[in-house]
C-alpha cells in the first residue's frame, strides 16, 4: 500500500520568509577546514577538500544522466544534483573567478584522485578562517527549489493530473525565468498540453522550443509529444 508523499512546504504554500529561511538553511555548508577535519578523522585522504569532495559527488551516475536533460525520473533522486549545487556554491564562494570549472571538472574527479584539485583550495581555505560559512543562499537554494518544483510537476503529470502539472510548470517559469531547467520545463509543458488536448498550443510551444534549442536532447521527446501535423 502506498501512502501519498506529502508536498514540500517550499513548493506549495510557503510564504516568502519561510522560503528564504528554508533555502538559507539548506544552503549552509561546512567550511573546507571542517570538512578536512572530518575526513582526516575518518582516515580519508587528507587532500579531500570541500569543493573536491562535493564535486566528486557530481560524478555519480544519476547526476551525469541528469545533466543530459533526459533523466527526469532521476531528478527525484536529485540528491546528487543538490550536492552539485552545494559544490558549485561553496566553490564559487572561494573561487569566484572560475565558477564554471567545477561542473567541468566533475567527471574527471571521479576517475582521478582528488589530489590535483585539493592543493588549489588550501590558500582559499586559509583565507577563510571562519569555522563554517554560509554559501550564498540563492543559487543552491534556487536549484533545490527548482528541482523540487519540477519534481512536483512531473509527479502530477505521471499521476495523470496534467492541469496541475501545467500550473506548477508555469509557476516554475515565473519563479525562475532564467532557471537551470527551463528547457525541461518547456518539454514537460508540451507534453502536458498535448495530454490535455490543447494541441495547437502544444505544437506552437514545441516549435519554439526546437527553434530555441535545436541541439537539445529533449527535441525528440518534444516532437514525439505532439500529434503529427495532419
Amino acid at each position: 500500500m502506498n501512502q501519498r508523499e506529502p508536498e514540500r512546504l517550499r513548493i506549495l504554500g510557503a510564504t516568502d520568509l519561510e522560503q528564504r529561511l528554508l533555502a538559507a538553511a539548506g544552503a549552509e555548508t561546512p567550511s573546507p577546514e571542517l570538512t578536512r577535519r572530518m575526513a582526516r578523522g575518518l582516515g580519508l585522504a587528507a587532500g579531500v577538500g570541500v569543493a573536491t569532495a562535493s564535486s566528486t559527488t557530481a560524478a555519480t551516475p544519476a547526476t551525469v544522466a541528469g545533466a543530459s536533460g533526459l533523466a527526469w525520473p532521476l531528478v527525484s533522486a536529485g540528491v546528487a544534483a543538490l550536492a552539485v549545487a552545494s559544490a558549485v556554491v561553496a566553490w564559487s564562494g572561494t573561487h569566484r573567478a572560475r565558477p564554471a570549472a567545477v561542473p567541468a571538472r566533475a567527471p574527471a574527479a571521479m576517475a582521478a584522485a582528488p589530489a590535483p584539485v585539493a592543493p588549489a583550495l588550501e590558500p582559499a581555505a586559509a583565507a577563510h578562517p571562519h569555522r563554517h560559512h554560509v554559501a550564498p543562499a540563492a543559487p543552491a537554494g534556487d536549484l533545490r527549489a527548482e528541482i523540487a518544483l519540477l519534481d512536483a510537476a512531473r509527479a502530477a503529470a505521471s499521476g495523470g493530473d496534467d492541469a496541475r502539472a501545467l500550473a506548477l510548470l508555469r509557476r516554475y517559469d515565473a519563479t525562475f525565468p532564467a532557471g537551470t531547467f527551463r528547457p525541461e520545463s518547456t518539454a514537460l509543458q508540451v507534453e502536458a498540453l498535448a495530454h490535455l488536448g490543447r494541441t495547437e498550443r502544444a505544437r506552437a510551444l514545441a516549435r519554439s522550443f526546437v527553434a530555441a534549442h535545436p541541439d537539445s536532447p529533449l527535441v525528440g521527446r518534444v516532437q514525439r509529444a505532439i500529434p503529427r501535423d495532419p
Binding site: L17, L22, L42
Partner: protein
C-alpha cells in the same frame, strides 16, 4: 533497523584515538563525499555548533565504517543521518545553542538586511528551536534536506504514519513561529 548502540558506544569511546586506517574499496569515502554536508547541516539544524556538528557527523561516519556490510547502498543516507542524530542526542545539551527569546528582535533585524544568509540561517534555527524536538527532526529532513517520508521513517526508525503526523505538527509550529518573526520584521520595518 539500524540497531547500533553497542558499536556506537565503542566508537564513541575511542574519540581522540588515532584515525582508523583508510577503508578498502573507498565506499566510506564515497559516502562521505556524497553525504557529509547534509549530515552536518542536519545536525546544525538541531542546534549543534559548527564544530559539534562536525564531531557528531564524524562519529556517524565512523559507526558507518564499522557497519558497511550491513548498510544497503540505497539506505546510506538514511543510516548516516539517523545515526548522526542519535550521536547528537548522546552529546547532551552542552552542544546546543538554542537562542534566547530576546535574541529574536536582533536576529530579525539582521535578517531583514537582504542577502544576509547567515542571519537567515540563524533565524531558521531560532524558529526550529521553538518546534518540539522530535517533530523538528522530521521537518528538517523533509523540508530542508528533501528526504522522502519512507527514508525518514527508516532513518528515525518510526512508522510512516508517524512521519506524516510529526511533519504536520512541525509545520504548524514552525509556521506559527515564522509568522511571529514576520510580524516582528514588519513592526521593525514600519517603526
Amino acid at each position: 533497523m539500524f540497531g547500533r548502540s553497542r558499536q556506537a558506544r565503542q566508537t564513541e569511546g575511542r574519540r581522540g584515538a588515532p584515525p582508523p586506517a583508510p577503508v578498502p574499496g573507498g565506499r566510506l569515502e564515497r559516502m562521505f563525499l556524497a553525504h557529509h554536508g547534509m549530515v552536518w547541516r542536519t545536525l546544525r539544524r538541531r542546534g549543534l555548533t559548527a564544530d559539534a556538528a562536525a564531531d557528531a557527523a564524524q562519529q556517524a561516519f565512523l559507526i558507518a565504517a564499522e557497519r558497511l556490510e550491513d548498510i544497503q547502498a540505497d539506505s546510506e543516507r538514511a543510516f548516516l543521518v539517523g545515526t548522526a542524530l542519535r550521536v547528537a542526542r548522546t552529546m547532551g545539551r552542552k552542544t546546543m545553542r538554542w537562542q534566547l527569546e530576546e535574541d529574536m528582535d536582533r536576529r530579525v533585524l539582521e535578517a531583514g538586511d537582504h542577502g544576509d544568509a547567515r542571519a537567515a540561517v540563524e533565524l531558521c534555527d531560532l524558529a526550529l528551536s521553538k518546534v518540539d524536538a522530535d517533530v523538528a527532526e522530521v521537518f528538517v529532513l523533509f523540508e530542508i534536506e528533501g528526504l522522502s517520508s519512507p527514508e525518514i521513517a527508516a532513518s528515525l526508525e518510526i512508522p510512516l504514519g508517524t512521519v506524516a503526523s510529526r511533519l504536520r505538527r512541525a509545520r504548524e509550529q514552525f509556521r506559527r513561529v515564522v509568522a511571529r518573526i514576520e510580524t516582528t520584521i514588519q513592526r521593525e520595518g514600519t517603526s
